[in-house]
């Protein structure tokens, strides 16, 4: 019998910060101390707090160590496991109170969360089906196997579950369309083509709790009358793919997949299709084309996939997070599920919080929580005491939400009303040093390069929007560029073929809506208020601060800086290429911008 269990995070984030080396070192140290039979190491899925990884939790006392390095392991074993002393320096330090925190439950990052979908992530060994089953796994499936398809659909409908992939279409309704579409063959597809830069909730679920997704797929298959599923997952997620394959093999072994599942007469097979990582393949019709072996290019809807999908057969496509909700709904009932959330948005939503906040990572919150709570409580506020400026929600196709809307409840409809969207749940927090025009330019450069080129508005329109934004950030904006940009953005949104094109203008439209003055400053005053757009900056040296150390002169690639040794230096603006090298190099803060 083990006395202690140690959870080492084996999510992609912690693995890249070295958790597997920590695990190796821990095994060795345990052997050295003869503890290998007393302490069990469990490789868990993602805890969400990736910024503080590798994460290392000791049970039963629930001590949360973070940023554990290989060299810390002997001390942890010696002090904690042998002597029973907590190693305080490796505990989480609250950025506000600067106090050390023992249990993860007391960390604000976790305390405001409601971890339903992520319930198993970081808790169980994702490569062990038994651990999933012990925590109630596959009981939703077992229920569903003996339910009438319409009963399943009605349960999901009344739970209020909406698609987590972006558009928020009611899942039960989608299933009903699939159920009612006549066809001898139907497919269920799991969209695991997580493409928003910075979003990784689907990856975390796949890596940390793959069986939840399989269970969701089996239930969906039973509901619409499909016996075959595809999981379309990007090849950049090798760990997720490996764990999925393992999970499928285990589920097959347990008779949860295959023919006549648990004697119910239901057959179900799950295939994995690796995608090459094009953003547009997250769009469902492009995704289907890609599974079929065609180029990943969207097709017009209707016909919707529920009527004519994969290889022309009725197909239901659900996102990873959506599917991970399904077993819970079946197990606990629609009422239980819909108790959390707002009128139009039920349950919880996972967000990937990044940008200028203290705590970046993955958090799961109840629908309807305010942005302020996410940014300031879970996120721990703005880094370096700077001022909040905006948060970009929904990835490159989303929009930004300014300070005055911080108390906006986060749900599908409120976000859409303000020009943003839930998207897959990416959340980039920006402080006062962010130029909103440059931000729009950045996101447009992403969508423009991901445009498949099929429809004119997206192919040509994103290009021209990007060119206008580039012009403005380079100080070459023309007086009517704002109007031109806005008109074009609205038209692309209104007339593009697929979701990518229709949402690509969102960053432009929301920044124009909430930060128009920044555009005007760039165009009319030739000024970047945030001091980001380098073509609009001029560098100068404050003679009061300059000590004439020549560091800037050496750094300047354009030989634009002159001055005698130990005398204040001067920048020749006509030669300056605004690369910022001098600014970075000066230790005295003498190089300034205006």
């Amino acid at each position: 019998m083990y006395e202690k269990q140690i959870l080492i995070c084996a999510g992609t984030g912690c693995i890249s910060s070295g958790s597997m080396h920590v695990q190796e070192s821990l095994s060795e140290e345990l052997k050295k101390h003869g503890l290998q039979d007393k302490v069990r190491i469990i490789l868990s899925g993602c805890h969400g707090f990736c910024e503080k990884g590798p994460i290392f939790i000791v049970y039963p006392e629930d001590i949360f160590y973070c940023e554990v390095k290989v060299e810390d392991v002997p001390e942890l074993v010696e002090e904690h496991l042998v002597k029973g002393n907590v190693v305080e320096r490796l505990l989480y330090k609250d950025p506000v109170s600067e106090k050390r925190v023992f249990s993860h439950k007391d960390i604000p990052f976790y305390s405001k969360q409601k971890r339903q979908i992520l319930r198993n992530c970081g808790v169980i060994d994702p490569e062990n089906i038994d651990e999933y089953i012990i925590r109630g796994g596959y009981s939703g499936m077992k229920k569903a196997l003996y339910m009438d398809p319409l009963e399943i659909i009605n349960t999901v409908k009344s739970s209020g579950l909406r698609g987590r992939g972006g558009a928020g279409f009611p899942t039960g309704m989608k299933w009903e369309f699939g159920y009612r579409s006549p066809g001898d063959k139907k497919y269920v597809v799991c969209n695991a083509d997580e493409g928003d830069p910075g979003a990784f909730m689907d990856r975390s679920v796949l890596e940390g709790d793959p069986h939840a997704v399989l269970e969701g797929l089996i239930i969906a298959g039973r509901a619409i009358g499909s016996d075959e599923a595809y999981i379309y997952v990007r090849a950049e997620y090798p760990l997720a793919i490996r764990r999925l394959r393992k999970a499928i093999a285990q589920a097959e072994e347990y008779g949860f997949l295959g023919n006549n599942i648990l004697d119910s007469g239901t057959n179900f097979k799950i295939n994995i299709k690796e995608g090459a990582g094009a953003f547009v393949c997250g769009e469902e019709t492009a995704l289907l084309a890609s599974i079929e072996g065609e180029r990943g290019i969207p097709r017009p809807r209707p016909p919707f996939p529920a009527v004519k999908g994969l290889w022309g057969k009725p197909t239901c496509i659900n996102n990873v997070e959506t599917l991970a909700n399904v077993p819970l709904i079946l197990r606990n009932g629609a009422e239980w599920y819909s108790a959390v959330g707002t009128e139009g948005s039920k349950g919880t939503k996972i967000f990937a919080v990044t940008g200028k906040v203290n705590n970046t990572g993955l958090c799961e919150v109840p629908m309807g929580i305010s942005l302020r709570e996410i940014v300031f409580d879970i996120g721990g506020g703005i880094r370096g005491g700077k001022k909040y400026k905006a948060v970009q929600i929904g990835g490159p196709s989303g929009g930004c939400i300014p300070e005055e809307l911080l108390d906006l409840p986060v749900d599908f409809d409120s976000l859409t009303a303000k020009g943003a969207m839930m998207g897959s749940g990416g959340m980039v927090v920006m402080d006062e040093d962010t130029c909103m025009v440059d931000l729009a330019r950045y996101f447009l450069s992403f969508t423009q390069s991901e445009s498949c080129g099929k429809c004119t508005p997206c192919r040509e329109g994103t290009k021209r929007m990007l060119e206008i934004l580039e012009r403005i950030t380079q100080g070459k904006g023309e007086p009517d560029d704002i109007e031109r940009l806005e008109k074009l953005a609205l038209s692309v949104k209104d007339s593009a073929l697929c979701g990518l094109g229709q949402t690509a203008p969102n960053p432009v439209l929301t920044t124009l809506r909430y930060f128009r003055d920044e555009y005007e400053a760039h165009i009319f005053d030739r000024r970047c208020p945030a001091g980001v757009c380098k073509d609009l900056l001029s560098y100068y040296i404050d003679p009061e601060l300059c000590i004439g150390c020549r560091a800037c002169t050496k750094a300047c690639p354009a030989e634009a800086i002159s001055g005698e040794k130990k005398e204040p230096h001067v920048i020749d603006e006509t030669k300056c290429i605004r690369c910022g090298a001098c600014f970075e190099r000066c230790k005295k803060g003498a190089v300034k911008t205006r």
């Binding site: 445009s451 004119t456 508005p457 290009k463």
Partner: protein, 345 residues
């Protein structure tokens, strides 16, 4: 039947009809680039967008099925704006050399720009800069003029089945090309030229027609191809007693506008300088020019000069029914059944 309203007018159509088809039934004009009733609907050009009450965004009428009670507007400010910006975007990336373009007068981009009053683009920036592809003798490809409607690609895949061309690359760099950017001669292209007939703009130009006449100067004559026995309909475009261009005849029930390299590009033998233009009679072992009277008198005399059974004739599988009929009537009237033709070739 399904009933819907377009611009305030009620129309009834089959349930599987599209908005575009319903509009056509009413005589309501909707511009299109990428639409062809013979090809897969792709909804790519977005020129045909219309407003449907209750729908968030504009929809492509070419590929949106009708619904009972649907209320459609095709001529609103919003629709016009979308179409104008669409044209504006295309023009930003299209050479404005209509003065010398073969397509002038028969170009849908030109027609729609005229219709919507778009004379030049508001958008400056990168433009395509591709070399002219003119290495085959049949047609020139100028991909700078291509608007990426994809009609050529779908025609090649769905009508011909050769599948020689594809849209390569993505986004702004999309380009219609054979694999590996090879010239068409090195691809599965069979030079049927149906892509040329399908192109709504001046990206594909048949070489034989260059400089031979503006579209509006040409008279169209529908006839049947002189080559194999399929009997494809051809449209001959004529100016000054010269056939300057050939296209497949879309109204022909056999070929529905389809055609092959011979019918499309192989009929200019009509103007070959080697054509026979005068009767010839062999004199002293040489064929020399003669008058019709002399030649016909001589033939008539020789035909009369033998017994029927000493006479034989090869009729022609290339000539018309009427001519074959008269040929056999003539020989049979002269007392012989020695009539055959190359049916066995």
């Amino acid at each position: 039947m399904v009933s819907l309203t377009i611009n305030g007018q009620k129309v009834e159509v089959e349930p599987e009809a599209t908005i575009l088809q319903a509009a056509e039934k009413l005589g309501v004009f909707i511009p299109t680039f990428c639409y062809s009733p013979q090809l897969t609907l792709v909804g790519a050009c977005r020129m045909c967008v219309v407003e449907v009450e209750g729908m968030r965004a504009l929809v492509a009428s070419c590929c949106t099925p009708v619904r009972d009670g649907m209320v459609v507007h095709t001529d609103t400010e919003r629709v016009h704006t979308a179409r104008k910006i669409n044209l504006n975007l295309l023009l930003a990336n299209h050479p404005l050399d209509c003065l010398t373009c073969e397509k002038n007068g028969n170009c849908r981009l030109q027609d729609y720009c005229y219709l919507y009053g778009v004379s030049e683009s508001d958008f400056k920036g990168d433009r395509k800069d591709y070399a002219l592809e003119d290495t085959n003798p049949f047609f020139i490809r100028d991909m700078n003029k291509c608007i990426l409607c994809g009609l050529c690609v779908r025609t090649c895949h769905e009508i011909n089945g050769a599948g020689a061309i594809e849209i390569m690359n993505r986004g702004f760099d999309s380009k219609v090309s054979a694999a590996f950017y090879d010239p068409l001669e090195n691809s599965p292209c069979v030079f049927c030229g149906m892509c040329v007939d399908a192109c709504p703009v001046g990206a594909l130009t048949p070489k034989q027609s260059i400089g031979k006449g503006r579209s509006y100067e040409l008279e169209t004559v529908k006839t049947v191809c002189p080559y194999c026995g399929t009997g494809c309909g051809l449209e001959l475009y004529v100016k000054n007693n010269e056939v300057v261009r050939v296209k497949g005849d879309p109204s022909n029930p056999v070929s529905r506008g389809q055609v092959c390299v011979k019918g499309h590009f192989g009929t200019d033998f009509l103007k070959s300088p080697e054509r026979l233009t005068t009767p010839l009679i062999r004199k002293n072992g040489e064929l020399v020019e003669s008058s019709w009277d002399e030649a016909l008198d001589l033939v008539a005399e020789k035909l009369k000069g033998v017994k029927g059974t000493e006479l034989a004739g090869f009729s022609s599988a290339r000539a018309t029914n009427e001519e074959n009929y008269l040929f056999q009537k003539l020989l049979r009237s002269l007392g012989t059944n020695n009539i055959d033709h190359c049916a066995r070739l």
